[in-house]
Subunit: 181 residues, 2 copies
DNA sequence: TCGACCATGTAAACTGTTACATGATTGT
DNA sequence: ACAATCATGTAACAGTTTACATGGTCGA
């Protein structure tokens, strides 16, 4: 999708918490943020350079060991303002959530289609695994109420994702159960 | 997103039901399919030309009125096979469902953030409207059980979308209700 | 006749993925 | 020494959106 440069705002948001290298930002997509957004380092590094050229961020060189130079990026005041402006702006578009399985299902004409049972079973497994993963994330990150206060948005997102996957799993299961009718 | 050419399969799927012009295909995204996928005519027309060059589809010219030429596309045998192969193949990836509101929420650190109430209220309105729309779609298209049999996949998708929006709305409402705690 | 809609295309810009490419550090 | 990981970049390609561009049909 050619969206409205959401990646820029993710980077601004991450840097608003603390200074990070491009590598740190890349890794954030393997854990926390990876739950609901993805990005590769090949997209992140050029964007960091562009954002710096636009005055949103700046960097200082940190030398590790003998000569490994890291670029530690920080928000400029302009960047801070741009991030806050984005956060405060309305979000009037609902995303279309492009789901390839749903696409295939659309072309199933009949409830007796022999493909249906395995398609549904495959998705049930995938969504069940996702749900288990999300639940373990929830346990790991928000065992104690303190962190739930300190990262309230993150908590809400996880809660929402768990409810979404629970509903998805339940829909798949019911559909499988009713196939015989 | 640079996905795996799902648009190609949508076009194959639509043409497997009946022959269509590029304009017909474009309009399908304004109604039925628009519920869960989007595409513009500027993407569809070039792809139709490419798919014809690859032997998946063919067209005949239909003249309307004095001289308006329409291209009516049909599946070739190769196209039919490619569509069926896709439908039968596994769908092992779960889409990340990139949702800008969720993104913003991630950066809300505290449950007392003054932005939260309006953010949640805005989304509640959007998702409520979406739900109402989906429910009217369901009523219009599947009043009688016949069509539910004849377009089973479409029925399941609508059912799922309604359940998803119901859950989304309920999560938003509960979150709003609990903000005071 | 005029406006809404039918009908088809191209161009430019942007977003995202996969692959190519290089080198340093750290712990075993 | 060697492997895993840290660290940063570029290139090519693929998918998507927005804008530009043109002309025909049909009903009021």
């Amino acid at each position: 999708m050619a969206q409205k440069n959401n990646l820029k705002y993710i980077i601004l948001g991450l840097l608003s918490e603390r200074s990070l290298t491009g590598y740190d930002i890349t890794k954030a997509f393997d854990s926390d943020i990876g739950e609901f957004w993805s990005a590769n380092h090949s997209q992140i590094y050029p964007l960091l350079i562009k954002m710096e050229a636009n005055g949103l961020i700046s960097h200082e060189i940190i030398v590790t060991g003998a000569k490994l130079e890291k670029k530690l990026y920080s928000l400029t005041q302009t960047g801070t303002i741009e991030f806050k402006t984005w956060l405060q702006s309305p979000t009037p578009e609902l995303s279309a959530s492009k789901d390839e399985f749903i696409l295939k299902l659309y072309f199933i004409e009949n409830s007796t289609d022999p493909l249906l049972p395995e398609m549904l079973a495959e998705q049930l497994m995938l969504h069940h695994n996702k749900l288990v993963h999300l639940q373990s994330q929830m346990t790991n990150k928000f065992e104690n109420t303190d962190r739930k206060q300190a990262q309230f948005g993150h908590f809400l997102i996880l809660q929402h994702a768990i409810e979404r996957e629970t509903a998805y799993e339940s829909w798949l299961q019911q559909t499988i159960n009713n196939l015989g009718d």
